[in-house]
Chain length 194, copies 2
């Protein structure tokens, strides 16, 4: 299924088409396709070109997929194994000179934005999740000091069967119209609040 | 000028074309065009669809542009008035239920990723800056409690004259090939470090 994006100003189709499903097609995302997605992220901007993003990925059937799955919060465990690939999004917290890189988390977002765009061009969907246990993930994947785990991402082709989801999630999945606050609530040509 | 993006895997042209100039064409970005950019950001994903991003923008010649400019770090003041538009990127630090929204800064990154893609489709360039004084910006634009200023963004059409820049910045501007770490340094199918 596709969703309607009721834009107030015209934007590129790739941005309108994107949404975050909890079911995916059975068609696997190949390792080569996954690397195309990561490559898109690779060329994102970052503060001082520090490229603070760090990625762990697993494809369904390899042991890594299951190890990532086990780090997710229970809510996400209801559906995340519908994905073909699971990704952990982490970042290096400090610069090489020892100063904190406050923008590392922001730049992980820029990375994921690029990933998302590339995915959409390939009819691949992402569902980004805040619901992952950072400490457990750091232990599970032997991160050294100085890294923080921020997100998980479920990746798969659009086109899953909604009835694979528990009933409480089917409703969200089939909602036809995407929703956002109008610009007037968050963009100001002057003081905050306009 | 355009730059070369030496990708290891094929990615969409819009992602290859993007880079972050410090000079821009004289052609102004209209208010309508700016709103198209913000609209692209509007439809980004965010944790629990909280849409934590908050934006202040000014166009060259309005008073707001100058007020944003005055909040930039000295390094960025060397070139940022080449832009047609200046944007402040801020975010709401907490959810409505009072819990901290750790992912707000990440989601501002997703917002800016969308903005960046839309801009590229319009031949508009962004230069995102970490170098802005958050406290000064919060005061200048009367942000209430509970918001944090993270970034500034210079916006303008590609195609500026490099000799508008101080000499120390001309070299960076005219470097032909973009550079990134290879995936093998930051993406792992298993434990951190591969």
């Amino acid at each position: 299924m596709s969703k309607t994006t009721p834009t107030d100003y015209e934007i590129h189709d790739l941005l309108k088409k994107r949404w975050s499903p909890r079911v995916f097609s059975e068609k696997p995302v190949s390792e080569a396709e996954l690397k195309q997605l990561l490559e898109a992220g690779r060329w994102a901007a970052s503060s001082n070109n520090l490229q603070p993003w760090r990625i762990i990925w697993g494809r369904k059937g390899d042991g890594v997929f299951k190890r990532i799955f086990d780090c997710l919060h229970d809510f996400n465990k209801q559906w995340a194994d519908n994905a073909s690939v699971l990704i952990v999004g982490a970042y290096k917290t400090h610069r090489d000179d020892g100063k904190e890189n406050f923008h590392a988390l922001h730049d992980l977002g820029l990375f994921m934005g690029n990933l998302s765009l590339q995915a959409t061009t390939m009819n691949i969907a992402l569902h980004q999740m805040a619901g992952i246990d950072p400490e457990k993930t750091i232990q599970t994947f032997s991160f050294p000091e100085g890294y923080h785990v921020a997100t998980a991402v479920a990746v798969g082709y659009y086109g899953g069967e909604v009835d694979k989801l528990p009933e409480n999630l089917q409703k969200m999945e089939t909602k036809e119209v995407r929703e956002r606050k109008p610009q007037s609530e968050w963009a100001f040509n002057g003081n905050f609040g306009g």
